[in-house]
């Protein structure tokens, strides 16, 4: 699996991606979220897990308090079309507009397109290699949040 470190050099200092993993709804199916937490950590990220059953508002608040680069959302209960956009909206409202949002779970193609338009990317389904998810997050954080063109 992708164990290559994703620590990248910012202009001034070494930085690790800070990521919040959350399931923003009534959904206790945490197998995927827990696997991702460990994969992100093994890939060199600083991982914060939101624990179970937070509301979208609580997730957004936590993301800002923890000063993360990216929020990774997972839902398997079919509520992604309400919960994911809500997290994004609350981030904007609470002053975390620049925090990136990625998603995953059981997300039909049509919904994926709609989420992408809202700036919620990834939206990977079951069976996606961890490498793919890690690369997507790393690329996006460097490009959009850190304004770094290329991994060094």
């Amino acid at each position: 699996m992708g164990r290559a470190t994703v620590v990248v050099k910012n202009k001034s200092r070494n930085r690790k991606i800070r990521i919040l993993v959350a399931k923003p709804g009534l959904d206790g199916h945490d197998r995927g979220a827990l696997v991702l937490c460990r994969a992100f950590r093994d890939a060199g990220m600083e991982v914060i897990y939101a624990g179970l059953l937070p509301t979208p508002e609580q997730v957004a608040r936590m993301a800002i308090d923890e000063d993360v680069d990216v929020v990774a959302l997972s839902l398997l209960n079919g509520a992604h079309m309400t919960a994911f956009p809500r997290v994004k909206k609350m981030l904007e409202e609470y002053g975390g507009k620049d925090i990136l949002v990625v998603g995953g779970g059981i997300i039909p193609d049509d919904d994926r397109v709609k989420l992408e338009k809202l700036g919620i990317t990834g939206n990977y389904g079951p069976g996606t290699p961890l490498k793919t998810i890690i690369k997507h997050i790393t690329d996006r954080v460097m490009r959009e949040r850190w304004k770094i063109k290329k991994q060094t």
């Binding site: 709804g25 009534l26 206790g28 827990l34 209960n77």
Partner: protein, 572 residues
């Protein structure tokens, strides 16, 4: 607390017999034939292991089962220790119950689907509830927004239950309800619906899942702290034992433990550990063990490692019988019977090339039947995508019917019994269980092992290792990490009518305007007092409250106020 030495002594008993094994014949074959061959023809893998990490030999012979007594360890069907099956004639008498888990949208949608399945030869009902219902929130609660009717049917009040079972006579079907944290509330509603149909509680057949321990371990759908839920379960046990002789008030579930990432031995061990914790609960409530143990039933997963799954089921039966007899001194053989429902594995289904899931489900269903299941749900091929369409659910049901009617497999009991490999593996599973029980004992018992997160971490570790094996292609999943194709929208899927949420919100708001508020308030106060006084049985005020049309959310809110919330231990 004094450590229970029983588990360690059992493990010792089993391993002691192994020291006398003589495997001279195998060693000779290995040396003279096998090793030479393998040197010239390299095997596909360096070592062959099953999901539980047990290393497998190239072949098993009579030497591998010398420590297994054909009469006392394997025996006959319907006879202690029931390794070969719980009933003397098994499927020669009656086939397993084909019980398809279903439920979505508003109560009307589910009522329609249940009738459709009954028409197509289903023999028992099984209801899936949506997330708000599972967590105990009403359709109009802000927490429920976007989740009403999505993963199952929404039940907010007694009126919804009436619609679900409209036109279905409850004295003629058996109903399984997958509900845990609010199980007592749903059971109370079922009793009330039956009463309106003129059916008395003693006639009701069915199951509520109620297994809260596996919620803390795996599915994570709780409402209160463990002690509070266990107290309510105790009251359900006592109520059912007295009033509902045909009712299974708990279905001790390994399904979710497996889906959360556990391997076969972990599923077996943690599920049975939960089972024995409920036996303790009944015994400590003053119930004689034989008065309630015959009503305990189980629910297992069946996934792809064929022989490992069959061995798991056989080991489970033997362990349950042995421990109930030796440790709990059960006298009634029915207390020793491990009866179980099986569902094929949702986690084994792939999003990629979804039609392949029909084959996976068929293989899993076959293992469940060869393992002697009492009832079976087969998953539909589209379930990695969404809830199943009617067509997909029908194919899943047909899969069971083909196994039942066309293969001849149900005609002979435990047809794989006596296989060197299977008997050896059954014993390995048994040993694995006793090993885990020792560890749980060391962790301070099951409840402590859950509260400290030990069991959850064991499962999460296996889940992560499994994922790494898939990433490294040590474990091949067809269509996922091998044999891939490009596909665009391979199947049509079920979409949930957005109407359900609106309908359910309007319905509960209408209810709140028309019901007698004074009755509701009074019944909830009575319930609060019962929650506060552990000597009162909560089932009686619970039934009163649902009849007064208190909602699920209101009833659970009383519990939340009395007991407070639950926070999971740190798992990472």
């Amino acid at each position: 607390m004094k450590k229970d030495e029983y588990w360690a002594s059992k493990l010792k008993e089993l391993t002691l017999k192994e020291s006398k094994i003589n495997n001279a014949e195998y060693k000779k074959w290995e040396r003279e034939i096998y090793s030479r061959w393998v040197k010239a023809n390299k095997e596909r893998k360096d070592s062959f292991k099953n999901t539980s990490g047990i290393e497998l030999k190239p072949v098993y012979t009579h030497e591998d089962v010398q420590h297994i007594d054909p009469l006392h360890d394997i025996g006959y069907p319907g006879e202690y220790p029931f390794t070969r099956g719980v009933y003397p004639s098994m499927y020669r008498g009656r086939l397993w119950t084909m019980r398809m888990f279903s439920g979505f949208g508003a109560p009307e949608d589910t009522n329609k689907r249940l009738k459709y399945l009954l028409q197509h030869g289903e023999t028992g009902l099984s209801i899936a509830f949506d997330m708000p219902t599972l967590y105990g929130y009403d359709a109009d609660d802000p927490r429920s927004f976007g989740e009403v009717g999505r993963c199952g049917v929404n039940v907010t009040s007694l009126d919804d239950m009436k619609i679900i079972f409209d036109g279905i006579p409850l004295d003629q079907v058996s109903t399984s309800m997958t509900i845990n944290a609010p199980a007592a509330v749903l059971m109370a509603m079922y009793i009330a619906v039956a009463e309106e149909q003129g059916v008395a509680p003693e006639k009701l057949r069915g199951t509520v899942q109620t297994d809260i321990l596996k919620e803390y371990i795996a599915q994570k759908e709780w409402a209160f702290p463990p002690e509070a839920h266990l107290r309510i379960i105790r009251d359900m046990m006592v109520y059912s034992t007295r009033n509902m002789p045909l009712w299974n008030y708990i279905s001790i579930s390994g399904y979710h433990i497996r889906e959360a990432g556990a391997n076969a031995i972990q599923e077996l061990s943690f599920t049975l550990a939960d089972g024995f914790a409920y036996v303790d609960l009944g015994v400590n409530a003053g119930l004689p063990v034989d008065s309630f143990a015959p009503r305990l039933s189980f629910f297992f997963n069946c996934t792809m490692n064929f022989f490992e799954e069959i061995a798991k089921f056989r080991a489970a039966r033997k362990i349950w019988a042995t421990v109930m007899k030796e440790k709990y001194h059960a006298k009634d053989p029915r207390s020793m019977l491990l009866r179980f429902h099986t569902q094929t594995s949702g986690a084994s289904l792939t999003w990629q090339q979804p039609m392949n899931n029909i084959i996976r489900t068929a293989i899993e269903a076959l293992a469940a039947v060869l393992g002697g299941t009492q009832s079976l749900h087969t998953n539909s091929y589209d379930e990695a995508w969404a809830l199943p369409t009617e067509k997909a659910a029908r194919i899943a049901l047909r899969t069971q019917q083909i196994i039942a009617e066309e293969t001849g497999i149900p005609d002979v009991i435990d047809p794989l019994g006596g296989s060197y490999y299977l008997e050896w593996l059954t014993r390995e599973m048994e040993k694995g269980f006793y090993r885990y029980m020792e560890k749980i004992e060391e962790a301070g018992g099951l409840l402590e092992a859950i509260k400290s997160g030990y069991i959850q971490r064991e499962i999460a570790n296996t889940a992560y290792e499994t994922q790494k094996e898939i990433e490294d292609k040590e474990r091949i999943i067809v269509g996922v990490n091998a044999y891939r194709i490009k596909e665009k929208k391979p199947i049509d899927i079920l979409t949930i009518d957005e109407r359900a949420q609106k309908l359910q919100i309007e319905r509960v708001q209408r209810l709140k305007k028309t019901r007698n508020e004074a009755d509701v308030k009074k019944s909830l106060e009575e319930l609060r007092e019962a929650f506060l006084d552990s000597k009162t049985n909560v089932m009686y005020p619970m039934i009163k409250a649902v009849k007064a049309k208190a909602t699920l959310g209101e009833i659970m809110q009383v519990g939340r106020e009395v007991y407070g919330p639950w926070a999971e231990p740190q798992l990472l």
